[in-house]
């Protein structure tokens, strides 16, 4: 066990066995420069860990690697990738499949494409409960209705009969969260769950996730390129840049005193965003960054 991580914990969950423990993970697509390089990350029970980084920094690759959802071209190497105590690096597909859902459940970036357009939501949610061969149709329906209520979807019974295109993005993301909850997972992996939504929806979904966290105590790996989202619900945050985690710590510590130049640049971006009121995040000037941070030379 990697004790180093145990000592670094500030939260009360420090001594519990981690739900997710990633050691020195590297992912490359078709032999090019790795999309993720030497990443260490742990998530303990009940903990909410954020991963922040700009577009293309490897966040999605990292998240999808946990459940082996990457395309065939992706090569994953490293020390270990343990989910609920099972090392999935080099594990047979069957082992990985058994943890998909109950071990970790995913919430994807774009709720509009996350469901089949040709099947009703009820049909799809029922199919997610395929593992349960003893429960009757009615029992499954009750369970689905319960989670849909939990995520605050209005009129859940009627929604079961609807098709994805009949719901808004925000509602669909609620359904996606409900689907994840249906699995009673040990870990919830949310890959930019609010990026495809407008600001009001974003606030609602974040509120919902905070509530879930308080109610169910599920561990969450929250991926975002938005500091506000991270600040809102995370205990700890890892800052990712060009496939590496360049800084990690409690949200308070990092917000109070960002060490790494990239983190500082990220804050600067966000601040200028607030000051000028523009709606798009300015692009980070990598040349300038390289000049101020010799360490990062060659990192890209």
């Amino acid at each position: 066990m990697n004790l180093e991580f145990g000592f670094n914990r500030v939260t009360g969950a420090a001594l519990a066995e981690p739900v997710l423990d990633i050691g020195d993970l590297t992912i490359s697509y078709g032999g090019g420069t790795p999309a993720v390089q030497g990443v260490h990350l742990t998530v303990r029970p009940g903990e909410v860990v954020g991963v922040i980084g700009e577009s293309g920094s490897g966040k999605t690759s990292l998240a999808h690697a946990v459940l082996r959802l990457l395309p065939q071209s992706a090569v994953i190497t490293g020390q270990h990738l343990s989910l609920c105590g099972t090392d999935l690096l080099g594990a047979p597909d069957k082992t990985v499949a058994s943890l998909r859902g109950p071990g970790a459940a995913m919430i994807f970036q774009n709720p509009m494409t996350a469901f089949s357009p040709l099947h009703t939501l009820g049909h799809q949610l029922t199919d997610l409960l395929w593992r349960d061969r003893t429960a009757s149709k009615e029992e499954k329906r009750e369970r689905i209705l319960a989670v849909l209520k939990q995520v605050g979807l209005p009129d859940p019974a009627a929604r079961l009969e609807t098709y994805p295109f009949q719901l808004s993005g925000g509602m669909l993301q609620r359904v996606a969260i409900a689907a994840a909850l249906l699995m009673r997972p040990s870990l919830l992996i949310a890959d930019e769950p609010t990026t495809a939504l407008d600001v009001t929806m974003e606030a609602q979904i974040l509120h919902l996730m905070r509530e879930l966290r308080a109610e169910s105590g599920v561990a969450i790996l929250m991926i975002s390129h938005h500091l506000g989202v991270i600040a809102e619900i995370c205990d700890r945050v890892a800052v990712m840049y060009a496939g590496r985690i360049v800084e990690e710590g409690t949200v308070e510590a990092i917000f109070a005193d960002p060490r790494h130049p990239y983190t500082k640049a990220l804050f600067a971006c966000e601040l200028s965003l607030i000051e000028t009121g523009i709606s798009r995040m300015p692009v980070i000037d990598h040349e300038a960054l390289r000049r101020i941070a010799p360490v990062m030379r060659g990192a890209q």
Partner: protein, 314 residues
């Protein structure tokens, strides 16, 4: 839904009208005396005169067009130049043979094609996929007349299992069914390869959709994803292509009809072209277009029925 279907039918009628106009135009654009063209150089002057009168060729062109369309709208496709029998009657006589043959070939070929296409996707990138790929391309490449001849030689002549020629006696259902086996095999075989290829391509596209990743992320078994989800999407994607293909089967069976001496629309068109029997050619072309249009309408309606997005927009 009713309005949608009516609109499709309306569109189909417009297409048929255009086909009729093109046919009319072509008749008049063929160089030389249309009566000679229509009746052949050996026709007597009396025959030509009679034909001119019959077709109204001595009248102004717009009047002719009006008469032509007027007759068409009453279902009158004209008369066979030689036998003087109504073309429509002749077509309706052979149509059941053609439709049965096309449906029989279509059903087994599409069913097997879908199964092979799915199997290729299930074993994507492994040897069964390769094998099915080579087999499919091979099947597409073999001309149906070659299959017709060889299957005739093997199963009818050498083994004597099945009848070599004809379509079976009227009333003898078993005999008719037996007579259907070899031709539908010959016609459908190439189709198996074609359908398996397009189904495979459509399935691979469907398997790349984001929702498939969602289902996978919940551990839903791959087979369930393939057969319950991707297949529906792939089927919708290939439906219109298959429908056009079915239209093609109705006329594309010429070789099989000739080799197995079956009556049918394809053979009738072929004979009419050879003997320059223009009213029959026009009638069969119009009938074939009508069948094509019908297939398209059915495909559109099925698509609308299966795709909730289209259905709700109606």
């Amino acid at each position: 839904m009713t309005f949608f279907i009516l609109r499709r039918i309306g569109l189909g009628l417009v297409i048929l009208l255009i086909v009729a106009l093109l046919l009319f135009g072509m008749m008049h654009m063929i160089p030389g005396d249309p009566t000679v063209v229509a009746l052949g150089p050996r026709s007597t002057p009396e025959m030509r005169e009679a034909f001119r009168q019959l077709m109204g060729l001595d009248r102004p062109i717009f009047e002719q067009l009006g008469l032509f369309l007027g007759r068409l709208s009453q279902g009158n496709l004209g008369e066979d130049v030689w036998s003087r029998r109504p073309v429509l009657t002749m077509i309706l006589e052979v149509l059941p043979y053609t439709v049965t043959l096309a449906v029989a070939s279509f059903i087994w070929a599409v069913a097997l094609g879908i199964v092979l296409g799915c199997a290729a996707v299930v074993h994507h990138g492994r040897w069964p996929d390769w094998l099915i790929g080579v087999l499919s391309v091979g099947l597409v490449a073999v001309p149906s007349f070659v299959v017709s001849l060889y299957s005739l030689l093997i199963f009818a002549v050498t083994l004597n299992w099945l009848p070599a020629i004809g379509a079976g006696e009227p009333g003898d259902i078993m005999g008719q069914a037996r007579a259907l086996i070899l031709p539908s095999f010959a016609i459908g075989l190439g189709w198996v390869g074609y359908v398996s290829r397009i189904v495979r391509a459509a399935m691979i596209e469907a398997m790349g959709e984001a929702y498939v990743r969602t289902l996978r992320s919940f551990g839903v078994p791959e087979r369930k994803i393939i057969y319950r989800y991707a297949l529906k999407q792939a089927f919708l994607a290939v439906l219109s292509v298959i429908a056009i293909g079915f239209g093609g089967l109705l006329t594309g069976s010429v070789f099989a009809e000739i080799v197995f001496s079956r009556p049918g629309l394809g053979k009738m068109t072929y004979d009419a072209v050879i003997s320059r029997n223009y009213p029959v050619v026009m009638g069969t072309v119009l009938m074939t277009s009508g069948l094509y249009v019908t297939c398209m309408i059915i495909a559109d309606v099925v698509t609308a029925f299966l795709d909730p997005r289209v259905r709700s927009a109606l």
